[in-house]
């Protein structure tokens, strides 16, 4: 109210549940919010008693702020609010001031959205304030009714709930709570390497792990010239979308064709897929170790395809020592697709370019492979040399989130 600034209240989700580490998580969250708003001028992000307050110049579009902050993991919800200075005066004067702000706020809502009914949800965070929460609600409600003649109170199904929050020295009125993704701030949980195929699942898996505070790097496998360069473009497009949430992503692109050719020449047809999967995991593990990734992330989903049966997963998993995170393992396809649509990767994922898994697809892939037999087939190959060459010939690009 003092100067031309917009205020946003940002609530931390799980971060608030942390014990002794809470200040650390909150600090990380503030850093992340600052980072996504860095492209704008005159931003102020402050942490006060469990909440984060973002102040922006009044001419910065609200939608833009909500969109950017809403994508920060660890944010539970955001509310554009009106801030009222209550550092001076007695309780009556203060409530008067809050009441005036509330009336003004509601008048705008009546104009913009045609609000007819409302209720007040008041909260006294500062227990030193002499008036208790329900009483604040009643007083402000009465003032709004007097100030806005068209409004009536409806405590069950109001068009609008007006929140009033009385804190130390400052009070806030707001209406909207825009949900964030929740989760934990990026960087609070190390870095993981996702096997990014270009399908629907793997970008979702990357998103879900990043939501728990993990930085993401990616490895992509192709079989050029058996796959098209367009598939590689598509993976970069997907990474670009995912990077809006996860921040910078490095992608290591690896040609599997020489390995696939060796497998075809030396191993039984029905084991092709599972053998290729094991090579992918081994190569990924090597890349992960080199790049300080703590674990691998895949979009595997129990039973979705032949290489993702329980037996096949046992065989795949045995290829590496590093922990393999499979955040989608027990989800249904429709639910994965729902998230893909929510994070905007779906439309890109379904573009029909061949990915490396559909090349050399056996007619009857082994759905219940035995580890012993697979190891035996693998022993016919010079794995070390093949993996070394694949790593040697990789192409690496870094994808940055778009402003």
């Amino acid at each position: 109210m003092t100067e031309e600034r917009n205020t946003y209240i940002v609530r931390c989700g799980e971060v608030a549940l942390k014990g002794q580490n809470k200040p650390y998580f909150e600090r990380m969250l503030v850093e992340r919010i600052k980072k996504v708003l860095k492209k704008f001028e005159g931003i102020e992000v402050k942490r006060v008693e469990g909440l984060i307050f973002v102040k922006t110049p009044a001419d910065l579009s609200k939608d833009l702020v909500l969109k950017n902050v809403g994508r920060v993991f660890g944010v539970d919800s955001i509310s554009p609010a009106v801030e009222i200075d209550i550092s001076e005066g007695d309780a009556e004067a203060i409530l008067d001031r809050i009441g005036r702000a509330a009336v003004e706020y509601m008048q705008k809502l009546i104009e913009e959205k045609g609000v007819k009914t409302f209720k007040i949800d008041a909260k006294r965070a500062n227990k030193q304030f002499p008036v208790e929460s329900p009483q604040i609600g009643r007083i402000i409600g009465a003032k709004v009714l007097i100030g806005c003649k068209v409004l009536s109170v409806d405590v069950h199904h109001p068009d609008c709930v007006l929140f009033v929050s009385v804190r130390r020295g400052l009070a806030y009125v707001y209406e909207q709570k825009v949900a964030g993704f929740g989760g934990l701030p990026l960087g609070t949980n190390g870095k993981g390497l996702v096997l990014l195929s270009g399908g629907i699942d793997s970008p979702v898996a990357a998103f879900m792990m990043a939501k728990r505070g993990m930085w993401i790097d990616a490895v992509h496998f192709h079989s050029y010239p058996y796959t098209s360069d367009r598939a590689w473009e598509k993976v970069q497009d997907l990474a670009k979308i995912v990077s809006q949430y996860c921040g910078r992503i490095r992608i290591h692109s690896i040609n599997l064709l020489p390995i696939q050719e060796e497998i075809v020449r030396n191993c039984p047809e029905e084991e092709t897929t599972i053998l290729v999967r094991r090579f992918m995991m081994k190569i990924a593990e090597r890349v992960a170790k080199e790049t300080d990734c703590l674990m691998l992330i895949t979009g595997e989903n129990l039973g979705q395809v032949a290489s993702q049966t329980a037996e096949a997963l046992v065989v795949t998993d045995a290829a590496v020592q590093m922990p393999v995170m499979r955040p989608l393992i027990a989800m249904d396809k429709v639910d994965i697709m729902k998230i893909a649509r929510e994070i905007d990767t779906y439309e890109t994922s379904i573009l029909p370019y061949e990915d490396c898994c559909t090349v050399f697809l056996p007619k009857h892939p082994a759905t219940k492979p035995k580890l012993q037999r697979i190891l035996e087939s693998e022993s016919r190959l010079d794995c070390e040399t093949l993996i070394g060459a694949a790593l040697e010939n990789r192409e690496t690009v870094t994808i940055y989130p778009e402003d």
Binding site: C267, E269, R373
Partner: protein
């Protein structure tokens, strides 16, 4: 060695065309409708481009309308003929192997009440003249059949179609419009609008080493076509909108060049194509030539299936060697399979293994020999891998 063998998708623009266009953009950028000198200069360029284009097609200047390319020409002809004729009849005859610019326009008209017959074709993609004759009933208002098929190179018997059309008109006392999409034959075959009896013919700039985004629609003088674009009255009110002068001038020049050297070009392309074909047949077994072998095939297009291979993989393998070919046509490779290859009843395996080579005057013998050599290596390596796959058992 850079070898571009995808000239049916698009061609390398002649340098002189590029230079002319740059000059139009930098200096002679006037609007032909302006009254001042800049406008006059632009108008002159417009007139001269129209003349060049008309000459290249052997038609009158007043019969040329500039469009944004082949698709717009085809759409304008199909939708225009429908608007003009729908009160007289609702039947349209076309072929199953047309370019999507005609096929999709026809499908749209079906939803608006047209009855469209997609004439079947023989194994080489030629339309069935007997079926055409049988379908030429009283209510036919439009025949639209392409001159040269973009995927196979097959030349359609336009003259015979024209004859059957005139007979039907006499018999029924009706008027049938005849349109042909000549995008693929422009500059690589004769254009004889009178002998064929076509009323409309569409061509495109970028297939003759001219610019993209420009084309021309020939409309026989006396044929009334309703306008689909309204505004400032350019192109005699037929297609409003400020003329795309750099592209129009570029098209004019490319048209002049294409007309000048046509006979030599056709002979040259035939030679190169024969070299390519014999090179392939000599170095590889199990190939199937999908294009017609006789004279009724475009001198620039050769479609071949390699058994045991996937066309797209061959395409990428050749691209690694800086050789550029196509599977299906560029416009339909977004979709699965080729409607043309399906229409000539090619088995699935042959459709999967099909590659289209399309030549231009910029190709050389050395390029052809190099491409054949690399192609043979690519086919062999793919066949070897494919035959190893599935052989190994426990």
């Amino acid at each position: 060695m850079f070898v571009y063998l995808d000239n049916s998708s698009t061609t390398r623009q002649h340098d002189c065309v590029t230079d002319l266009m740059v000059k139009m953009m930098r200096e002679d950028f006037g609007n032909p409708s302006s009254l001042h000198r800049m406008g006059v200069t632009a108008e002159k360029a417009l007139k001269s481009a129209r003349k060049q284009t008309a000459l290249s097609l052997g038609v009158g200047e007043n019969e040329i309308y500039f469009t944004s390319g082949g698709t717009e020409g085809d759409n304008t002809a199909v939708f225009g003929a429908w608007e003009a004729g729908k009160r007289a009849g609702k039947k349209i005859l076309t072929s199953a192997v047309e370019h999507p610019a005609v096929l999709e326009a026809c499908r749209r008209l079906e939803r608006l009440g047209a009855q469209v017959v997609y004439l079947g074709v023989d194994r080489e993609g030629r339309i069935d003249l007997q079926q055409l004759k049988d379908e030429l009933t009283e209510d036919v208002i439009l025949i639209t059949v392409m001159h040269v098929n973009n995927e196979l190179g097959t030349v359609q018997p336009l003259e015979e179609i024209g004859k059957l059309k005139r007979e039907a008109e006499k018999r029924w006392g009706t008027r049938i419009l005849f349109h042909t999409d000549a995008v693929q034959s422009y500059g690589k075959g004769p254009v004889e609008t009178d002998r064929w009896g076509v009323d409309m013919l569409s061509v495109s700039g970028h297939k003759i080493h001219g610019p993209k985004g420009i084309g021309a629609l020939y409309i026989r003088s006396g044929v009334h076509m309703p306008s689909l674009v309204w505004g400032g009255g350019q192109e005699k009110g037929f297609r409003s909108g400020t003329e795309n002068m750099p592209a129009i001038a570029g098209l004019g020049l490319a048209a002049e060049i294409t007309a000048e050297g046509r006979e030599e070009r056709i002979a040259r392309l035939r030679e190169l194509k024969a070299r390519l074909l014999s090179g392939i047949e000599d170095s590889l077994p199990d190939v199937r030539v999908n294009s017609p072998l006789g004279e009724d095939c475009s001198p620039s297009i050769l479609n071949v299936s390699f058994s045991g291979c996937r066309g797209e993989v061959l395409l990428h393998m050749l691209e690694q060697k800086d050789i550029y070919v196509s599977t299906g046509s560029a416009c339909s490779s977004h979709k699965k399979g080729s409607h043309v290859l399906s229409a000539v009843r090619l088995p699935d395996e042959a459709i999967e293994g099909a590659v289209r080579f399309s030549l231009s005057e910029y190709n050389t013998e050395e390029q052809i020999d190099f491409a054949v050599k690399e192609l043979a290596a690519a086919v062999e390596s793919q066949r070897k891998l494919r035959s190893a796959f599935g052989k190994k058992k426990r």
